[in-house]
C-alpha cells in the first residue's frame, strides 16, 4: 500500500511523468529481504528514487538500506532542522519472535515508505544533504556514515527522557503560576503545549482500542471457523435434509471466517497503523518542544553570562587591569554566541508556527483517509457476511419442505 499519505500540504506534488519540466522527487521503499543469520539477522529494503533534480545523479537510483539507516537519517534531520516536526519512524521491535513475522515486516515497510516520502515532500527537508546521501550513497559509504554517528551526535535516551520530564513539569509549573525565569510562557505557546500533551493521551487510547478491535476480528473469525467445523461434523450424523443443512451452514461459516481474517488485516494496515502514526507524530512534536525549551534555556543562560561579563568588563576598565583586553575579546565572542543562539531560537519559533499548521492539515487528510478505509472495510465485510448467510436461505427452504 504505497498510496498512503503521499501528499504533503503546500509543497510540491510529484507529477508522474518524468518528461515534465517541474521538479519532482519520488521515493519508494520495497522488497523487504531477510539478510544474515541468527542474532545478526536483519531486514533490508530496496529504496528506489526517481527524480529530475540536478543535485541527484541520474533519473533513477536504487540502493539497499536497513532500519538503522533510516534511524540515522531521522536523527541527522532532527539535529539539523530544529523547529521542524521530523516525520516519525516506526518503532524498533523488542519482541524477538515478532521481528520477522510477515505482518510486522509489511507494517514496517509501509511506515518507512511513508517516512521517506514525507521528507521528500517537505519543502525544507527535501533539500537536505543527508537525504541525498541516504538516497544515493553506496552501501559502504552509508555504513561508514552510520558508524560515525554513534556517540557523537546521538543524544542518549536518558537525556531525552530527562528533557521530556523537564518540559512536562515545566508546563505544569507555569500553569500553576510559579515563575521560572528560564521558561517560555506566552499564553499561545502554553495552549499549544497543553494541547499536544493531552492530544497524545486521547490518541493513545483510541489507538489502543483500534488495535484490540483488530484482534477481536481475528478472534471472531477463529471461533466462527471452529463453530463451522463442529457443525459440519454434526451434519455427518444425519444423511437427510437436516444433515445437509448442517453441512451447508458449517461450510458457510468457514467462508465467512476467512472474510473476517481478511478484514482484520485491512483494519490493521489502513486504520490502526495510521492512528499509531498519528501518535508518533505527536511524540515527534514533543521532541521539538523539548528542543525549543533547550534553546530558550541556553538563550537565557547566555544572556545572564553576558551580563556578568559586562560587569567584569567595567570593573577591569576602571581598574585598568591587564585582564581587560582578554575580557573584551571574550565579551565579543559571548555577544556573537548570544546573537547566534537568539537567532536559532527565533528560527525554531518561526518554523514551529508554520509546522503546526502543516501538521493539522496533514493529519486531517491522513485521518480522513483512514476513516474512509475503515468505514469501507466494515461495509464490505458486513455486506459480504449478509450475502453469504442469505445465500443459504433458499436451500434451507428446500430442506424444510
Amino acid at each position: 500500500m504505497n498510496t498512503m499519505q503521499r501528499s504533503g500540504s503546500g509543497s510540491l506534488q510529484s507529477p508522474r511523468s518524468p518528461s515534465s519540466q517541474a521538479p519532482f522527487l519520488s521515493v519508494s521503499v520495497t522488497d523487504p529481504a531477510k539478510m544474515g543469520n541468527g542474532v545478526q539477522a536483519y531486514i533490508s529494503y530496496k529504496v528506489i528514487t526517481k527524480t529530475n533534480l540536478p543535485e541527484y545523479q541520474g533519473n533513477e537510483k536504487i540502493v539497499i538500506r536497513r532500519y538503522s539507516d533510516f534511524v540515522w537519517l531521522h536523527d541527522r534531520l532532527f539535529e539539523k532542522y530544529k523547529g521542524i516536526f521530523i516525520p516519525p519512524l516506526p518503532e524498533k521491535s523488542t519482541v524477538e519472535k515478532f521481528r520477522f513475522s510477515a505482518e510486522f515486516i509489511e507494517m514496517r515497510r509501509q511506515a518507512l515508505d511513508v517516512f521517506v516520502n514525507r521528507i521528500a515532500s517537505h519543502h525544507e527537508l527535501r533539500q537536505s544533504d543527508d537525504l541525498r546521501i541516504f538516497l544515493q550513497a553506496d552501501e559502504q559509504t552509508m555504513d561508514r556514515a552510520r558508524f560515525q554517528e554513534t556517540g557523537i551526535f546521538k543524544k542518549k535516551p536518558a537525556d531525552l527522557i530527562q528533557i521530556f520530564k523537564d518540559v512536562q513539569s515545566k508546563v505544569s509549573d507555569v500553569v500553576l503560576g510559579k515563575e521560572k525565569p528560564v521558561e517560555e510562557s506566552t499564553p499561545e505557546y502554553e495552549k499549544m503545549k497543553n494541547y499536544i500533551f493531552e492530544l497524545e493521551d486521547h490518541l493513545a487510547e483510541a489507538q489502543k482500542h483500534a488495535f484490540r478491535l483488530v484482534k477481536r476480528h481475528r478472534e471472531l473469525g477463529e471461533s466462527l471457523s471452529e463453530f463451522g467445523k463442529a457443525v459440519k461434523l454434526l451434519g455427518t450424523c444425519d444423511d437427510d435434509a437436516l444433515g445437509k443443512a448442517f453441512s451447508e451452514l458449517g461450510a458457510k461459516s468457514e467462508i465467512i471466517s476467512i472474510k473476517l481474517q481478511k478484514e482484520a488485516h485491512h483494519l490493521l494496515m489502513n486504520f490502526e497503523e495510521p492512528l499509531k502514526d498519528y501518535v508518533r507524530a505527536v511524540q515527534s512534536i514533543k521532541a521539538t518542544i523539548a528542543e525549543r525549551a533547550a534553546a530558550f534555556k541556553k538563550q537565557c543562560e547566555l544572556a545572564e553570562t553576558i551580563k556578568f561579563k559586562e560587569i567584569d568588563l567595567n570593573k577591569y576598565r576602571l581598574t585598568r587591569s591587564e585582564k581587560l583586553a582578554e575580557a573584551e575579546r571574550e565579551y565579543e565572542m559571548l555577544k556573537a554566541e548570544g546573537e547566534e543562539t537568539s537567532r536559532r531560537f527565533d528560527t525554531i519559533v518561526r518554523l514551529m508556527n508554520e509546522e503546526i499548521v502543516r501538521f493539522q492539515e496533514q493529519k486531517t487528510s491522513d485521518m480522513g483517509l483512514a476513516f474512509h478505509e475503515f468505514a469501507k472495510g466494515q461495509a464490505r465485510l458486513s455486506n459480504g457476511i449478509a450475502d453469504a448467510w442469505r445465500s443459504l436461505l433458499p436451500k434451507l427452504e428446500a430442506h424444510s419442505s
Binding site: 477481536r216 466462527l224 486531517t364 468505514a375 466494515q378 458486513s382
Partner: protein
C-alpha cells in the same frame, strides 16, 4: 395403541400404594383417554414461517437506520413479530424441546412458577425449631378435561418436584421424559439467595412447561395431582432404604420364588424396576445375569433382537457427542461476538472524547473538519456496538436449542436404559425358569428310580413346581412390561426424530436470518460513513 392402554392399567395398580385419597375413581378405560395420534404432524414452526403479510407495524428500534425493505428484512421482521406474539402450550420462550402442537389445536396447558416463599417445617423433625424450606406458587391455566378446574394454583416445594419426577420415571418407562432441575446443593450455598431462588424458579418453570408439552405426560395423573391437588402432594416419596430392606427380605421370595403358601405375588411388582433397598437381592441376581450375559459362553435366552434399534442408538450417541461439541463452539462464538461489540463501543467512546477535545481546542479549520469526520466514525462505531449486542442476545436464544437438546438426549438415554433393565429382568427370570426346570428333572429322574416313591423328594418336586408356576407368571408379566417399554421407545423415537428435524431446521433458519439481518444493518451504518469520507480517497490514490 396397546402400549398406552397397558400403561393405564398399570397406573391404577400402583395407585394402591398411595398414601392419601385418590380423587378420581373412574374406570381405567374409555373416557379418560381420547388418544389421537400424538405424532400428528400439524406442528407449527415459530421461526420458519414466512408471513404473507408484511405490513405489520414493527416496533423494532433499528428500522430508523434502514430504508427499503430487503429479503432478509422481511423475514427478520416476521421473526421479531413472532417473538412478541403469545404462543400456545405455555411456550413463551421457545426453549421447549417439543413444540409440536397438541392433537387438538384448542387444548392448552399453561404453567407459571412464581413467588418463592420461605416456610417453616413443622416440628416432626429432630431439630428443635424446625428447618426452613422454600415453596413456589404453581399457577395453571388449562382446558384439558382431566383437570377439575380451568385456572388454579398450588404451592409446592422442590422436594415435591423430585417426587413428581421419580413417579413419572416409574410410570412412564420407555418414554423420553424431560429431566428435572438439579438439586444443586453447592450452588445454593455459593450463590446469593435471591439469585439462586430466581434461577431455581426459572428452571422449575421450564421443566413443568416441558412436561406440559409432552403429548403423553401432559395427561398423566401424576402431573395433574402435582398441579392441582391442594395441600400436601398426594404422591408417595421414595421411602428410606432401611424400611425397604425389611420389606425386601419379605418381598423378594414372593417376587422371585413365590414360596409363601398360597402367596399371591403381585406379578406387576416384578415388572417394576429393581430398586435399592427392598430389591437388593433381586438386584444381585440381575447383576449376576448381566455378567453371565456378557461373559458367559451361553447366549442369553432373549436378546435385543432389534438390530435397527442398535444402529439407531449408535447414531444417537454420535449425534449427542457432536451436539456437545457444537454447543461448546457456540458458546465460544457468542463470547467472541460479545467481545467485538464491546471493543467497538469502547473505541467509539474514545473517538467521542477526541472529537470533543478537538472541537474545544480548535485553532485551525483543519481541526474542525477532522473533528466532524471523527464524530461520524464515533457515532457509527457506537451504533455498530449496539447492533452487535442485539445480534448476540438473539444468537444466544437460538443456539440455546443446542443446549436444550443435550438435555433431551439424557432423557433418551434414560428411556433406553429402562428398556435394557426390563430386558435384563426377563432374562433373569428365564434363567431362573431354566434352572428350576433342570432341578425338577433331576429330582424326578432320581425319584422314579425308587419304587413306590420318595416322599420327601416328591414333596420337594411339588414345591419346585409351584415356584415354577409363580416364576412363569412373573416372567409373563416381565415380558409384557418389556414389550410395552419397547413400544414406548419406538413411538417416542418417531416423535423425537420429527421434532428434532423441525426444531433444528427452525433453529438454523433463525440463526441465519438473525446474522444476515444484523450484518445488513451494520453495512448500512458504515456505508454512510464511507460516503461521507469518500473525498479523502481521491487525494490519497
Amino acid at each position: 395403541m396397546m402400549g398406552y392402554e397397558n400403561q393405564e392399567s398399570h397406573l391404577y395398580a400402583s395407585k394402591e400404594e398411595m398414601e392419601s385419597l385418590v380423587l378420581d375413581d373412574d374406570s381405567p378405560n374409555g373416557t379418560a383417554h381420547p388418544f389421537s395420534d400424538p405424532l400428528s404432524s400439524s406442528s407449527s414452526l415459530p421461526f420458519a414461517e414466512i408471513p404473507t403479510d408484511q405490513s405489520q407495524t414493527p416496533n423494532s428500534s433499528f428500522n430508523s437506520i434502514l430504508e427499503p425493505p430487503s429479503y432478509a428484512e422481511a423475514i427478520f421482521r416476521s421473526f421479531d413479530a413472532d417473538h412478541s406474539s403469545p404462543q400456545l402450550n405455555g411456550a413463551h420462550d421457545h426453549s421447549i424441546a417439543s413444540p409440536s402442537s397438541p392433537p387438538s389445536s384448542d387444548d392448552f396447558l399453561t404453567i407459571t412458577v412464581s413467588d418463592p416463599q420461605k416456610e417453616q417445617e413443622l416440628s416432626n423433625s429432630l431439630v428443635p425449631g424446625g428447618t426452613a424450606y422454600v415453596t413456589y406458587l404453581i399457577t395453571t391455566r388449562t382446558n384439558l378435561p382431566e383437570f377439575d378446574g380451568t385456572e388454579f394454583s398450588v404451592r409446592r416445594r422442590f422436594r415435591d418436584v423430585v417426587t413428581l419426577s421419580d413417579r413419572l420415571a416409574e410410570s412412564y418407562r420407555g418414554f423420553f421424559i424431560p429431566l428435572r432441575p438439579d438439586k444443586s446443593v453447592v450452588e445454593s450455598q455459593v450463590m446469593q439467595k435471591q439469585e439462586f431462588l430466581e434461577q431455581r424458579r426459572a428452571a422449575l418453570e421450564k421443566y413443568l412447561r416441558r412436561l406440559a408439552a409432552h403429548p403423553v405426560i401432559r395427561r398423566s395423573e401424576e402431573l395433574r395431582m402435582f398441579l392441582e391437588a391442594n395441600g400436601k402432594l398426594p404422591l408417595v416419596r421414595t421411602t428410606d432404604v432401611a424400611s425397604r430392606m425389611l420389606d425386601g427380605a419379605v418381598q423378594l421370595p414372593k417376587q422371585i420364588f413365590g414360596e409363601t403358601a398360597g402367596g399371591m405375588v403381585d406379578a406387576n411388582e416384578v415388572a417394576q424396576p429393581a430398586k435399592g433397598g427392598r430389591d437388593l437381592l433381586r438386584i444381585f441376581r440381575e447383576l449376576k445375569q448381566s455378567v453371565s450375559n456378557d461373559w458367559g459362553g451361553v447366549k442369553p435366552p432373549v436378546v435385543e433382537e432389534d438390530k435397527e434399534l442398535v444402529e439407531k442408538k449408535q447414531k444417537l450417541h454420535d449425534f449427542e457427542q457432536q451436539l456437545s461439541n457444537v454447543s461448546q463452539q457456540a458458546e465460544a462464538l457468542v463470547k467472541a461476538q460479545q467481545d467485538i461489540g464491546e471493543t467497538m463501543g469502547q473505541m467509539g467512546l474514545a473517538f467521542v472524547k477526541l472529537t470533543k477535545f478537538e472541537t474545544e481546542r480548535a485553532v485551525y479549520d483543519s481541526q474542525r473538519t477532522r473533528a466532524a469526520d471523527m464524530k461520524n466514525v464515533a457515532t457509527a462505531s457506537v451504533k455498530a456496538s449496539r447492533l452487535y449486542r442485539e445480534l448476540n442476545a438473539q444468537t444466544v436464544k437460538h443456539l440455546d436449542k443446542l443446549h436444550e437438546y443435550l438435555g433431551v438426549m439424557l432423557a433418551v438415554n434414560n428411556a433406553f436404559s429402562d428398556r435394557s433393565s426390563a430386558l435384563l429382568t426377563v432374562q433373569t427370570l428365564l434363567s431362573e425358569l431354566s434352572s428350576l426346570n433342570s432341578r425338577i428333572e433331576k429330582l424326578e429322574a432320581a425319584a422314579s428310580k425308587i419304587f413306590g416313591g420318595d416322599r420327601s423328594r416328591i414333596r420337594k418336586i411339588e414345591e419346585l413346581k409351584e415356584t415354577h408356576r409363580v416364576t412363569e407368571d412373573a416372567k409373563s408379566s416381565a415380558v409384557k412390561e418389556y414389550e410395552r417399554i419397547k413400544e414406548n421407545n419406538k413411538n417416542e423415537l418417531e416423535r423425537f426424530e420429527k421434532e428434532r428435524h423441525d426444531d433444528f431446521l427452525g433453529m438454523l433458519r433463525g440463526f441465519i436470518v438473525n446474522q444476515a439481518g444484523y450484518a445488513e444493518k451494520m453495512a448500512n451504518v458504515w456505508k454512510t460513513v464511507a460516503e461521507e469520507t469518500s473525498g479523502y480517497a481521491k487525494h490519497g490514490s
